[in-house]
Subunit: 437 residues, 2 copies
């Protein structure tokens, strides 16, 4: 075909696409997360990427946020999912009669948000969600189970994190008790920025919205409580008499007894975490990388009163967590923190010399049957350039098979790391490779 | 909220969504396929679901088939991928300089076709693709590698299949030699239907398009060759003198020497397989379930001369295979052929009696650390109903933890299959569960 008929191959911006070496690491992280979710007995779920627009957007009364990808196919308006929570709500409401509660499900899948593309923001990204849904009620121990799942997941990923925990009712109750219930949203918006802007700036802004000096001090004091949960929760018990506040404190107290039972070393109380305004109604948590507050929350979640109220009159309280894996991976990569996670696609490469290729194919099936990932390099390049390339690709072992080796069934196995070279039977090769030398 | 404000939760038709028990089986099949691809040293690739419409549809000059989901976001026309081959071509053309050839990649992902929904047809479905892409040239042994991969994959899935192999050049060359080159498409369309309509009907139709009696007989004879490859290929060598035909025969001959070297018992020559008209240029293969021709081809593929000609002037020959996993799963399910594939999400359920829940949480972490999937049933239902439910969910082991058990650290382990019940330490429980009794 003519050059002029060709289209320049381009990818949409804001869509991650990794080269094989990186994709291997990404997939490995995703599989590890999945393994932990499964070991904790969460059921897998795989909902469609496309949903009926009026169903997906039930919450906003069908109004479509500009971030959402949507379109008509015939007369039907379709939309791409922007999270995994709304599809879960739709699924649970649809299949309520068939499910056993508490229903524990995980879903790892891509979600879509047509945001302005910018560094670290993706329009297509993986979310790894795990939720526990109760029928009518769900005990606080479920919140602890969810927090324990976060701890196990990041341990499996070898990432050092701190899980910060609070309960929305504490600040809600406190603000109500101080007489500022009608300013709750504004106050929380300012307090959310507290770690960034500092105490003085926060005080100033709270003053601007007409809060009393003593109220400001009290709120900022509470937001800075992030010490031992027993001490803090005993101390603040009398800060406010109202029910919401007391509920928040006693739920947190109970939660921490379970957290101690699980023995989660990196879960701590932090009354300064806020999360988004809506949705969450009790326990909330945000997970940060130790030494990397600039990553922001790498995992977050909390308790909600009612998962699926837009679809059903059943009351379905739940607690859930979500990891934005695409973003986390991108951050680790741009901070050069993927080191040590490299994986070998090929453990053994077989290089035929002379007319031995058929024998090599046979051998490759033997090694694969022994659970060694293996391929025959049948390319026409020279032996030297194949060795150079194998070295570049960090393939740990090379088997050289010439006609002599084929006849004697003793092969030359090169350890590319140690630079050693031995003649071995295929069985001995397996032992050497499996025991790494 | 008001009942009248609620939206009926619905899923789009033609989109598969499985209940947890089935999803477990589906995921397990997908993971097994992936494991085989990885063991054969194919690199993982994960391209975006959305592509620029003019890039995705380069082949048709940007013309959009009605099956394709497409839409505008701002000024940009986007389209959802309808296969994994076009994204591969785009990826290889874009990253040509960074890749090592032959480039072997696999991709398992959802693709989208807005077809009319009907039984067994899905609008969103998983494709599992593996391709080997050469730079300028790719030896025939790559075709054998691909066929071996198919054999290994279905073996891993415990599905009994037969891989039928041909080469497009044989019928192309034969038709040309018979003087009907201008009728190639019509002839192949009829021959493609041969297994369904039978010899007589096919002869009749070929007569209708003015083929000579002897030509019809020859074509039908060749299409029925599906015996021992050596015998057939020797026999037909002189059927036509033209180059295309000879190329087809000698490529098949070479291919079968590699297939024999690999020792693929279920690969056989079948000159009657046709595949689609375009795209493939040499070896073609179709995989059928033994005893279930009604499934159609459960995996297919072949050799193509030029992967990415719409994007680059580099010549990139390749060979690849694809499994439509969603459809295959649906067929197995509707034929009740998923039996024996059931998986246990939960290996051990811990039921606390009395005030032992914290101790149970601690225990659950111990069992998970021993690689046993385990959960604490903290639901408020009665002990009896929990047992009934565990039985229904086919959970194999139950650990009952009362206050006495907690004090003595000797727990009551119920084997739900055998109906036995023993008091054991947690370490002994692990042994029992791992050794299934």
């Amino acid at each position: 075909m003519q050059n002029s008929d060709r289209i320049t191959p381009r990818k949409l911006s804001g869509f991650m696409e990794l080269m094989p070496e990186k994709q291997l690491i990404f997939d490995n992280m995703r599989e590890r997360i999945q393994k932990v979710f499964a070991k904790n007995c969460f059921s897998p779920l795989d909902t469609p990427v496309l949903e009926l627009a009026n169903v997906l957007l039930a919450k906003s009364g069908g109004e479509i946020d500009k971030e959402i990808y949507h379109f008509y196919k015939g007369d039907t308006q379709l939309a791409m999912r922007y999270d995994l929570t709304v599809p879960l709500a739709r699924f649970v409401a649809m299949n309520y009669d068939k499910l056993t509660f508490p229903f524990k499900r995980y879903q790892i899948g891509k979600v879509y948000r047509g945001e302005k593309a910018q560094k670290g923001r993706f329009r297509e990204f993986y979310q790894c969600d795990a939720d526990i849904i109760g029928n009518e009620q769900l005990p606080i121990v479920a919140d602890a189970e969810c927090i324990n799942l976060i701890a196990e997941t990041f341990k499996e990923l070898n990432l050092d994190v701190e899980i910060n925990i609070s309960n929305r009712n504490i600040l809600f109750g406190l603000i109500e008790n101080l007489g500022y219930k009608n300013k709750t949203t504004e106050i929380l918006t300012i307090l959310d920025k507290l770690p960034k802007i500092g105490k003085e700036k926060a005080s100033e802004w709270l003053k601007e919205i007409q809060l009393h000096y003593s109220a400001i001090n009290l709120l900022i004091e509470v937001c800075n409580f992030n010490n031992d949960s027993d001490v803090v929760l005993r101390k603040i018990w009398n800060y406010a008499e109202n029910e919401t506040f007391k509920k928040g404190v006693s739920e947190l107290k109970e939660l921490f007894t379970y957290i101690k039972a699980y023995g989660i070393p990196n879960a701590k109380l932090n009354l300064g975490i806020i999360r988004g305004q809506n949705y969450y109604t009790g326990t909330i948590f945000e997970t940060y990388m130790v030494g990397h507050p600039d990553f922001g929350a790498v995992c977050a979640g909390g308790r909600y009163d009612n998962l699926a109220e837009y679809y059903t009159d059943k009351k379905l309280p739940g607690v859930g967590m979500s990891i934005g894996l695409t973003r986390l991976f991108d951050q680790l990569d741009s901070h050069n923190m993927l080191g040590g996670r490299e994986l070998n696609l090929t453990e053994l490469e077989i290089i035929p010399l002379g007319d031995t290729i058929k024998h090599c194919l046979e051998l490759s099936n033997y090694f694969k049957s022994q659970n060694i990932s293996c391929e025959v390099n049948y390319d026409s390049r020279s032996f030297k350039s194949k060795l150079r390339e194998a070295d570049k690709k960090k393939i740990p072992y090379i088997l050289v098979v010439g006609e002599n080796e084929m006849a004697t069934k003793t092969y030359s196995l090169k350890d590319m790391v140690k630079g050693t070279n031995f003649n071995k039977s295929k069985e001995d090769c397996v032992n050497t490779i499996k025991n790494k030398g």
